[in-house]
Amino acid sequence: MEASSWGELWANIAIFKDAIWAAGLAGALLGFIGVHVVLRRMVFASSAIAQAAALGVALSFWVPALIDPIGHAAGHAAGPAAHLMPSPLFEPVLWAIAASLLATLVFIANPVRLHLTRESMLGFVFLVSGAGAVIIGDKITQEAHDLAAILFGSAVVVQTIDLYLVSAATVLLLGGHLVLWRALVFVGYDPMGARVQGMPVRALNGFLFVSVGLAVALCTRALGALPVFAFSVLPAMTALAFTARIGWVFVLATVIGCFSGVAGYAVSFRAELPVGATQTATGAVLLTAALLWRLVMAERDRRRARNQPPSPSSSRPTPPADRASTASAPRTDAA
């Protein structure tokens, strides 16, 4: 099979523009929020939430069939449009949001009383959601293709309503994050100090977790779980490899997320590859390049430091650990 050309993509841009916009906006939104996700070491939260969103979509297909199997089958017979939205109550995006927020609640809850860690609860959410989506996917053969698209991200075209929802989420959530990013960094970095200084730590954390849940749910419905997980992790990692200035980390992560979404879509069209996987691979290539650049810079700095003559101030021997110099001093401090 001959690969498509860039000209063909441009010629058919009217068909694909919604998907390209959705990918760019989702990449930007998740790239920005992903900085908090990565810094707070809750990378697998976004994966588990995305998986839960996919389960929510699967349930939105399956529950109507369970409640009214005859009407559902009749809807299928009438045509694709008839069964896609049997009722506003079974709108997939609502189920995706509900499942995401439920998963977010599990993440927020502290399971220490159950002698469990947050990570283990996230594993539980991920596995239940993944297994549930596969099992339900087996029951809804008519929508199995849609479900596979959501799980693995094959969003060649995106429904207009999904683009509107992703756009609205980007404007509202990104706007909120732009206002609150310093507060969220403070609360994540030194939660106790932030509480002592009167920062509304719970409200800020609540905003962060709910915004992660909403962003992941809406973007998963539009693009699929795999690229959503990728956008919420890889751009932030890449930005952290490139710069150590916290403000620039957010800017770079947003730009890299947007670029991964758009460029990944274009490459998938050109090479006729699955969209979500190609967007993920684009993000991974950028991260690999950033890590290599970081290694080269570290090696350059190491060589420079080795070649520099010792300064007078550094001639005084410095102990490897500050405390080590006190080892021989007679002290009576209690442990």
């Binding site: 810094l39 310093r182 507060a183 509480r195 916290i246 001093a329 009576t332 401090d333």
Partner: protein
């Protein structure tokens, strides 16, 4: 269930309190309660209306994955209930730089907090407390993992903090001797032995509970 026996004391302006006790004595619980982060199971804590608090964490509590510059860290001290988002950052830069200057850390302004040595980092942590202009500052093991020279520098900085600003300081420390020597007052805690003793440092050092907890050697050496 109450962790510590009942005790009562008042922290006055400009006082330096050393909070001492063995590991697991209840020092952290006391500090969290004093700072209003945990409710006392029994009893009350009264704070002067409008009292401003600051907390200086242990260095090990700060995650090195965060790319936080020294100036950004000190600027965090200017965030709070009245300035959550730190709008008009440039307006606050002056106050942050003055605090760094006072802590002797102005030269590190642009460096990453995680790249500094233990002593340098502790100065920056203290600078944030200075920037808050707090009335009561709680320091959690401020001399932990420092060399002897840095220890003395930090203890001198604490003296300046309360002397020039009139701030009261609660210092959790494992350096019993230095802590008692520098502090006006001390709080000795040990939940295992049911000890909660507050008073002037010399009185706490002379108390039989002190010798019981720390042994004869520390007590005698302290008196020498």
């Amino acid at each position: 269930m109450a962790i510590l026996p009942s005790f009562a004391f008042t922290v006055g302006a400009g006082e330096l309190w050393a909070i001492i006790g063995p590991n697991g004595a209840g020092k952290s619980t006391f500090v969290r309660t004093a700072l209003g982060l945990a409710r006392p199971i029994a009893g009350t804590i009264e704070r002067r209306p409008g009292l401003r608090l600051a907390y200086v964490p242990q260095q090990s509590a700060l995650d090195t994955i965060f790319p936080i510059s020294v100036i950004d860290y000190v600027l965090m001290g200017l965030q709070g209930s009245g300035n959550v988002t730190l709008t008009r950052r440039s307006v606050h830069l002056g106050a942050a730089r003055r605090a760094l200057e006072e802590a002797g850390a102005a030269a590190f302004e642009r460096r990453q907090l995680r790249d500094l040595s233990g002593g340098q980092r502790q100065r920056v942590l203290m600078a944030r407390a200075l920037a808050t202009d707090a009335d009561l500052i709680c320091l959690d093991e401020p001399t932990n993992a420092l060399d002897a020279a840095s220890e003395q520098e930090i203890l001198a900085l604490i003296d300046r903090l309360r002397g020039r600003r009139g701030a009261a300081v609660l210092m959790v420390t494992h350096l019993v001797e230095d802590g008692l020597e520098r502090a006006d007052r001390a709080l000795l805690l040990d939940r295992d032995h049911g000890v909660a003793l507050a008073g002037p440092s010399a009185a706490v050092r002379a108390a039989p509970e002190f010798e019981h907890i720390y042994g004869r050697f520390v007590a005698r050496h302290g008196h020498a």
